[in-house]
């Protein structure tokens, strides 16, 4: 996917401006109690302005009242604009994904016959066919065949991926291209109901629900708003009693400035931006809540393979017992592995091919495969001429050889030992009970993964490696990669068990998975990220889908979640801290003319009561668009420990929030003073 680098396009801008006005609809505004009170205040000021125009006395000039009204209106528009921008950006991101899959021809199979229809007519359960060069018309599951597929339209990754029927890599995504072979696919989603469609709806607001934290924050902010309703309403009788006159414009301005409009105006934008950031990381979230929960994750379950190590164990070296026999040995290795569908077997063939050895197809005719069995613990081939080649763990081969009264060579033992010491797995190969050599299999730990785990540890996230290896190998790799815990010889039930156990201790668990047997664990985990290549069951069970199929994506998701919460927290703090300065601007202005002694409170030395009030409301309005970029980008998360983050954010947004408006209001006042 193309990453959008520019902040906003002219088209989006036009859309957002229109949307800001559309959102003035009181029904829409009522979703946000804080801005709704601003709307009411604006309406009051509108009525007052009109009344003043027709001769209502003691409320100041029409121009002043109308200015206050206009600025309040602009404040609301700015808030609407912030939400519109967030929506527009999120939508643009999602649309660019959706565009890839619109209106492609589909070869639907009906009663064994192929009918050409448009992709939009495909329904859930339909079967279609794709051959070389076809664009896959819809999300689906391969029911027959194997193909290499170019998913770059979605993931941006140019290397093709293999998808095949049966197993864990059955999913294909609409908009991707078949590069080779032929597959038959069953449609898994109704048109308009794919994950992407759901995500777009989520961003657009129709189905957007407030997340638990957002609800709690809204309660807090509504509380603050209510306090100021009380403060401003009761101020009127107080002023009357002490013989001070207050204009309605001043009271309304005081109210609007004091309520947390900054965070109130940006709140929904922050939420949408969180989902948008996830989408930018190529993760489709099924709800805003999932992103938020990701920030709270305590335990992260990671598959060893593909996350901590690169792929599966790979053959890295051939060691022949007799160095003159190396070619023969490698040939034998390939022959013994060619039907071995395990990743290790495949990697042996691959390593051989890389060294210029290709299996002699003629030798394979009429041969018998020796499948891996629990008794023999080895696999191999019996050739037509009766020669048997077996490969397996050292102990297994040793046993076979010794039972045939032959000697297991010491050299093979030495090599095996050396390989094991380096965290590798030795695989001994014997032909007709003669040891020919040892194959070295190695787990390759991804570069930089230790740093990422260190980062997670500082965030307070415990990492758990899940692997099918035995405990010793698992321990070795766990130590080397720096994970906190591991599950060795893991069966799907073990994952489930581990997640349940952690959860019963009050922890939130995230995991990533792709296979159908991962589905229960994905559903059980608080954050379950399914790989896009995974089975439909896995995708349904999780609450996010990663388009890149990148297991380390979880780390990014956790950071996105934390950023989301932090952005809300810091902007709330900023918004409330702003009130101090606004008080010092407005309160003296309210009473200065009646009680001259209160001039002493005018610490900013603002030029006149009117200009003080106007400066405060203008500042209050301007701060919203000024903070839109921060709301959309999110406050930067640094894994420096909770207390250090709190200190840092309190300093920047708390203290900053207290100081900035003093400067801002003073500057605006100076500008107003020169104009008037």
């Amino acid at each position: 996917m193309k990453k959008e680098n520019h902040f906003i396009t002219p088209d989006q801008l036009k859309f957002c401006l229109k949307e800001s006005l559309v959102k003035l609809n009181p029904k829409t505004m009522a979703r946000n109690p804080i801005m709704f009170t601003v709307l009411i205040s604006t309406s009051i000021m509108f009525i007052i302005s009109i009344l003043v125009l027709f001769g209502y006395k003691n409320q100041g000039s029409f121009v002043y009242n109308f200015l206050v009204f206009s600025i309040l209106l602009i404040t609301i528009l700015f808030a609407n604009f912030a939400e519109a921008i967030a929506e527009a950006r999120g939508k643009a991101q999602a649309e660019s994904l959706r565009k890839t899959r619109e209106e492609t021809p589909a070869k639907k199979i009906v009663d064994g016959k192929i009918i050409n229809i448009s992709s939009s007519l495909l329904k859930k359960g339909d079967i279609f066919e794709c051959s070389i060069g076809d664009i896959i018309p819809s999300d689906g599951e391969i029911v027959e065949g194997i193909a290499s597929i170019d998913e770059s339209a979605i993931t941006g990754e140019s290397a093709p991926v293999i998808r095949e029927a049966g197993g864990d890599k059955t999913s294909v995504t609409g908009g991707t291209k078949v590069l080779s072979d032929h597959i038959i696919v069953r449609v898994t989603a109704q048109p308009g109901e794919s994950f992407l469609d759901k995500m777009i709806a989520l961003v657009e607001g129709a189905s957007r629900q407030k997340s638990p934290n957002e609800i709690a924050l809204t309660i807090l902010l509504s509380g603050f708003t209510l306090v100021f309703v009380i403060v401003c309403v009761t101020l009127k009788p107080f002023a009357d009693y002490t013989g001070t006159t207050i204009t309605i414009a001043s009271l309304v301005s005081l109210f609007v400035c004091l309520i947390p409009t900054t965070i109130g105006g940006l709140l929904s934008a922050i939420g949408i931006a969180g989902m948008d950031r996830a989408l930018r990381a190529n993760v489709i979230t099924k709800s805003g809540k999932a992103v938020e929960t990701a920030g709270d994750i305590d335990t992260l379950l990671l598959d060893k393979t593909g996350t901590i190590t690169i792929g599966n164990r790979k053959a890295t070296n051939f060691y022949a017992i007799n160095s003159n026999n190396l070619n023969e040995f490698i040939d034998a290795c390939i022959l013994a592995s060619i039907s071995d569908q395990t990743p290790e077997g495949k990697s042996i063939v691959e390593l051989g091919r890389n060294q210029g050895f290709i299996a002699d197809q003629s030798a394979l005719i009429g041969c018998k495969w020796i499948e891996f069995s629990a008794q023999t613990k080895c696999s191999g081939v019996e050739l037509r001429n009766g020669v048997t080649i077996v490969k397996g763990a050292m102990e297994a081969i040793c046993q076979i050889i010794e039972s045939n009264n032959k000697v297991f060579p010491n050299y093979a033992r030495e090599i095996s030992h050396k390989i094991a010491e380096n965290g590798g797995t030795p695989l001994v190969l014997a032909m007709d009970n003669d040891v020919m050599g040892v194959i070295e299999l190695q787990d390759i730990i991804k570069p930089g993964i230790q740093d990422r785990f260190e980062r997670l540890r500082k965030m307070g996230v415990k990492t758990v490696m899940v692997t099918g290896d035995n405990a010793l190998t698992a321990q070795y790799i766990a130590n080397k990669a720096g994970v906190d815990d591991f599950i060795a010889e893991a069966k799907p039930e073990d994952k489930m068990e581990y997640i349940r156990n952690e959860q019963s201790n009050g922890k939130l668990v995230a995991m990533m998975g792709d296979g159908t047997n991962d589905a229960p664990a994905l559903a059980q985990a608080d954050v379950g990220v399914a790989m896009n290549s995974g089975t439909q069951a896995a995708k349904e069970a999780g609450n996010m889908v990663d388009l890149d199929n990148d297991p380390t994506k979880l780390i990014e998701i956790v950071e996105i979640g934390k950023q989301l919460l932090m952005t809300r927290g810091t902007l709330t703090t900023f918004s409330i801290a702003n009130d101090v300065a606004k008080y010092f601007a407005i309160v003296p202005a309210l009473f200065m003319s009646s009680i001259p002694a209160l001039k002493a409170l005018n610490v900013m030395n603002l030029s006149s009561p009117e200009s003080a009030i106007l400066s405060a409301v203008i500042f209050n309005a301007l701060i919203i668009p000024a903070l839109i970029p921060l709301a959309l980008k999110g406050v930067q998360y640094k894994p420096i420990g909770a207390s250090a983050i709190l200190r840092r954010n309190l300093f920047i947004y708390g203290l900053g929030g207290a100081i900035v408006p003093f400067i801002g209001i003073k500057l605006i006042d100076m500008a107003i003073a020169t104009i008037l």
Binding site: P212, N213, A216, L217, I219, S222, G223, L226, V227, I230, V231, V233, T234, L235, P237, F238, A239, D240, Y241, T242, L254, L258, G295, K458, M459, G460, V461, N505, G506, K507, G561, K562, Q563, L565, M566, R568, G569, T570, T572, T573, I576, A577, D579, V580, Y583, V587, L590, F591, I595, A597, L598, A600, L601, G641, A642, S643, I645, L646, L650, G654
Partner: protein
């Protein structure tokens, strides 16, 4: 002047020193651990048996609250009946009459809610019987009610996951037998040595130096005064409270009574640390409370000792400070200290007239009550602070990128809703009450002159103070306000009830809800609440909420008055 300040420092220092071991002792009492007063167990068990209480019954937060409220309701009628019948009951050597029903209603409510707003004078409005079995009894049991709620809170906070907040009856009885009674005996004994009367004889008549006859009221004063100070009650034996020479005869008794005001509220913060085993957390809270207390004390002491410039202009020397409404034997400094102590805690006893405080001291007294959690009332002080902790935890939790948790429990919408209602309640009651009073005063100037001794800013302060004092369950009066009218009796009565019970209900509900939640172990990403940063955060939250809510009103009252000085 120097000795005056040394006296003040000594008093504050002594209080802090004494509060620490006392806090440790109280934590043991509430945990049910062994203490040296265990020999009282048979007496307590006798109470349980007589009242058919099962001391082992576990209460969840709802049952706990129902029990608390029910018994308070019963006490309310007990109070009214005795006050109405006091004229015919024994221990009435002066032959004082029964209270009218409306007055009894007011008195009973005011003492039941631990506020002790007094619309009568003890000398003539009560008998020794009601002094002891209504006033003093209530001063014990209502203080113990707040302490029991606090004990339940401790229980809820320390457990990992529980529905059990402990047994209200056990907390109540132990608060009295193990904490309030022994301390009252000590304080009572000390002030008796200092000259406070303790007798059941009637008024004494004496001939003054001028040759005139004067009758001097006396009675079981020391007993009432001790618990009045210790239980943040504040309702004095005499109408003039601790400004009365027999309630507070000397600088020595003033110091003892002053220490008694702050002792338990301070000790409870240490108790918190010992009980939930988080000493740094408790220390942080203690310092957050101590700092504004000391600041307000230094400002008030400075203001009062400097004197009033307006009076100085009239040619009256102010070298011993602003002495209007103060007692010579106590002095300006010690009166200022008392004024701050009695308002940071919800005590409400006075040793001078708050109406005569200089504007800034008056404002601080109001502000202290508006915050209502710089140490605060016995037990309930921390409970008020707890609400601010919840809000601070929520904000700072978000700021560190995690769903906010406090002591391993997630704070969600439900708790937030309750916390916000409780936070809103205080400004709502104070501002709306004062607004209604102001409105009435504006629309009927005659009414205003009947109510208020002063017009304009100071008049506003007087009304503002009365509602603040009621809502904070403080009970002190700014005076200068004719408060024995229907409007003030009814309006403050309503405020009293709401402001006492709603917060307790809300706070216990939050604790109960949180206690029953799943416990989340701490990780590196968890917000630590025992750091100085978090303490600062809570402080800022309290200041901002209180300041934001009350700043405009304060501007029109004491601030305008000060700037016009």
């Amino acid at each position: 002047m120097k000795t005056e300040i040394i006296g003040l420092l000594l008093q504050i220092g002594l209080t802090i020193m004494l509060s620490y071991p006392l806090g440790y002792y109280i934590s043991k009492v509430y945990k049910g651990e062994k203490t040296f007063l265990d020999f009282l167990s048979p007496i307590e068990n006798m109470f349980y048996r007589i009242c058919r209480i099962d001391p082992k019954e576990k209460m969840n937060w709802k049952i706990f609250l129902i029990t608390l409220l029910t018994v308070n309701f019963v006490w309310f009628f007990w109070g009214i009946i005795l006050l109405v019948a006091q004229g015919v009951l024994p221990l009435n050597p002066d032959g004082n009459p029964s209270q009218s029903i409306s007055q009894a209603f007011n008195t009973s409510i005011s003492f039941m809610v631990n506020c002790n707003l007094q619309h009568y004078s003890g000398e003539s409005g009560l008998t020794y019987f009601t002094q002891l079995f209504v006033i003093m009894l209530f001063q014990f049991i209502t203080a113990a009610t707040g302490m029991s709620a606090f004990a339940a809170m401790l229980k809820g906070m320390s457990a990992k996951t529980t529905h059990n907040l402990g047994n209200f009856w056990v907390y109540l009885i132990k608060s009295v037998t193990r904490i309030l009674l022994p301390l009252s005996l000590i304080v009572g004994f000390l002030i008796i040595i200092g000259g406070v009367p303790m007798s059941f004889e009637g008024k004494q008549t004496l001939t003054t130096l001028e040759g005139q006859e004067q009758t001097i009221s006396q009675g079981p004063v020391a007993a009432v005064v001790a618990i009045k100070q210790l239980g943040t009650n504040g309702g004095g034996f005499y109408g003039a409270n601790s400004a009365h020479p027999l309630e507070n005869p000397s600088y020595f008794t003033n110091m003892i009574e002053g220490i008694a005001i702050m002792l338990l509220p301070m000790a409870f913060i240490w108790t918190l640390g010992f009980y939930i085993k988080k000493h740094r957390f408790a220390l942080g809270i203690f310092l957050v409370m101590l700092l504004p207390y000391l600041s307000s004390v230094s400002i008030a002491v400075g203001q009062e000792m400097r004197g009033n410039p307006k009076i100085e202009e009239m040619g009256i020397s102010q070298h011993s400070g602003s002495m209007e409404g103060k007692e010579i034997r106590i002095g300006a400094g010690a009166t200022a200290l008392w004024a701050m102590s009695t308002t940071v805690t919800s005590n409400g006893s006075v040793n001078g007239m708050h109406d005569s405080l200089t504007p800034l001291s008056g404002m601080l007294a109001i502000l202290n009550m508006q915050v209502n959690c710089w140490f605060g009332g016995v037990g309930v002080g921390f409970m008020n602070y707890y609400i601010f902790i919840i809000i601070a935890v929520f904000l700072s939790g978000l700021m560190v990128g995690r769903t906010p948790e406090f002591l391993g429990k997630k704070i969600e919408a439900k708790e937030m809703k309750i916390a916000i209602i409780i936070t809103l309640l205080h400004p709502f009651l104070i501002l709306c009450g004062t607004a209604i009073a102001s409105y009435l005063a504006v629309s009927d100037p005659q009414l205003a002159s009947a109510w208020l001794a002063n017009p304009s800013f100071h008049g506003l302060s007087e009304m503002f103070y009365e509602f603040t004092s009621s809502s904070a369950n403080n009970g002190s009066g700014f005076e200068g306000l004719g408060d024995n009218t229907n409007f003030w009796n009814i309006s403050t009565g309503i405020v009293l009830i709401i402001s006492r019970y709603l917060p307790i209900i809300g706070q216990i509900a939050i604790v109960g809800l949180l206690a029953s939640k799943k416990y989340i172990p701490e990780s590196a990403g968890t917000l630590k609440t025992d750091t100085s940063t978090f303490a600062l955060m809570t402080f800022v939250v309290i200041i901002i909420i209180a300041a934001l809510a009350f700043f405009p009103a304060l501007t029109l009252g004491p601030i305008a008055e000060y700037l016009n000085l």
